[in-house]
């Protein structure tokens, strides 16, 4: 039995937007209502994600503000903040609430603005992102988020011989997929040569190894397993795993294995009564190319140490044996922090309904989403299946 079902899903284009948070979120939320065929009056709770609105836009008590904007004022609203795993955590809590019979129809989504439209330049935004690392034991070194994942990736390269060319292959793959996604921030293909010529941000990462600062919103409507059949095209949520790892990085036992992702993935597969081998594709948190390589191993799609080779050999390509990030991932689709987690759920729902257009994974019946936050400290993994 499914834990819950997604009956409506929508997102804005991820990219640069000059609209306010409520207007951006309104587009995704009303799109999700329309997709589900529900009126706002049918919604009885709102689980909402935004990570940095206080720091980026001096905008903090967003729950009631957004609820009012989308016609659901009065319902209980809770805001989630879990760095880049913000809206996946909102989604997990919504699934649990529906499953427990607390709510019947729940709006879940997230919104964030990270581009210079906020008035913040790259250096300011880099500092704000770094606030998700440890204030006392990481930030004083001048660590940035590319730096966090560079530390993990360099150790992986040392242990397994993963190469910069293999990192570039991840960028090439995801840009190729993003070029087929009308909602992607980057709609342009790239090459390994172009990726390897970019300026170094934090070695081994060059510009093309890094996801962009994006603005955007995403939203889904979640209902109980029982109620799902009364909607068109429900997509089942089989399991949602959620785990954390030790912070700061220096106190993690083996930083590059991203233990929280492994724990969350095994919980999600167990809840759904399935395994990595049964998944037709994955959306993973590729904030940096190296992060996708670590994630591909953590969710069990490729053997430990083989993430780089799998990207190079096309195993994780859209037409490969273990497709990863058909949306283009964070790398090409974009990364509006609080909108990323439910954005992955939107992508899963579209493929499992057969509605993903040119980037459709043919015949996809089961898929997994992996959304990571902070210095690999939080990970939420979700398994979804097409309803029979």
């Amino acid at each position: 039995m499914a834990r819950a079902a997604v009956v409506g899903a929508d997102m804005t284009e991820f990219g640069v937007h000059d609209r306010s948070l409520q207007e951006l979120f309104g587009e995704a939320a009303l799109g999700a209502f329309a997709d589900a065929g529900v009126e706002p009056s049918a919604v009885d709770a709102f689980y909402f994600g935004n990570a940095m609105g206080g720091q980026t836009e001096n905008d903090t008590h967003l729950g009631p503000k957004l609820a009012s904007h989308v016609g659901i004022a009065g319902v209980p609203v809770q805001r989630f903040e879990d760095a880049c795993a913000t809206s996946a955590n909102a989604f997990k809590n919504a699934v649990e609430a529906v499953e427990a019979g607390i709510h019947d129809v729940v709006l879940v989504g997230g919104v964030e603005r990270c581009t210079p439209e906020t008035g913040k330049d790259t250096a300011e935004m880099t500092r704000i992102f770094a606030s998700a690392s440890h204030r006392q034991y990481e930030q004083p070194t001048g660590l940035t988020f590319p730096g966090v994942f560079a530390l993990f990736t360099k150790r992986h390269m040392h242990e397994y011989g993963t190469t910069e060319e293999q990192l570039a292959e991840v960028a090439v793959k995801n840009h190729g997929n993003g070029a087929l996604n009308p909602n992607a921030h980057f709609g342009k293909e790239t090459t390994v040569e172009e990726a390897l010529e970019g300026p170094v941000v934090a070695d081994p990462f060059r510009l093309m190894d890094c996801c962009p600062f994006s603005d955007g919103a995403s939203a889904v409507v979640v209902v109980s397993d029982d109620a799902a059949d009364s909607y068109d095209e429900p997509v089942d949520v089989g399991g949602v795993g959620h785990a954390t790892d030790v912070v700061p990085i220096c106190d993690k036992e083996t930083p590059h294995v991203t233990q929280a992702a492994r724990d969350a993935a095994s919980q999600a597969y167990d809840q759904a009564g399935t395994s990595a081998d049964e998944m037709d594709f994955a959306e993973v948190h590729d904030c940096f190319t190296g992060a996708e390589i670590l994630a591909s191993e953590a969710i069990g799609f490729v053997e430990d140490g083989q993430g780089g080779a799998a990207a190079e050999e096309g195993v994780t390509a859209r037409d490969g044996e273990r497709p990863i990030n058909p949306s283009g991932g964070l790398k090409a689709k974009g990364h509006p922090i609080g909108a990323t987690g439910t954005g992955q759920i939107v992508e899963l729902a579209e493929h499992l309904r057969g509605d993903a257009g040119e980037r459709q994974i043919e015949g996809a019946e089961r898929a997994v989403a992996h959304n990571l936050g902070g210095d690999a400290a939080t990970t939420v993994v979700t398994v979804m299946e097409a309803r029979e």
Binding site: P140, G142, L151, F152, V200
Partner: protein, 122 residues
Amino acid sequence: MSETLTHGEWNRAVQEGELLGQHCEECDHTQGTPKAACPYCGSTDLETVELPTEGEVYTETTINVPPEGIDERGYQVAVVQVGDARVMGRLVDQEIDIGDRVVLSGFDEDDQGNATPRFEAQ
């Protein structure tokens, strides 16, 4: 219950050329930064220990796009294995690789007085 190492004490030690960590008397784990309980077993039976001031680079990166507030570019951040624990810090010599031996050689400090260990090649 033994005493709990504070950030202030850890910070002062770094400024005085020492590295303090915690050893868990319950599960034998040693960590490089203070906590109220062991992150691996939850025990509060933590003993403050002096960590070695020399060790081996576990992983490193050179940051070329710094956050607001840092003017320099191309500084090297590393996680260094010191005895049974690891600490994060800066490397002063460029081109230090994973596996290289390094020794504590001072500290860097942010605008709020938070210190971070500085290591140089041994």
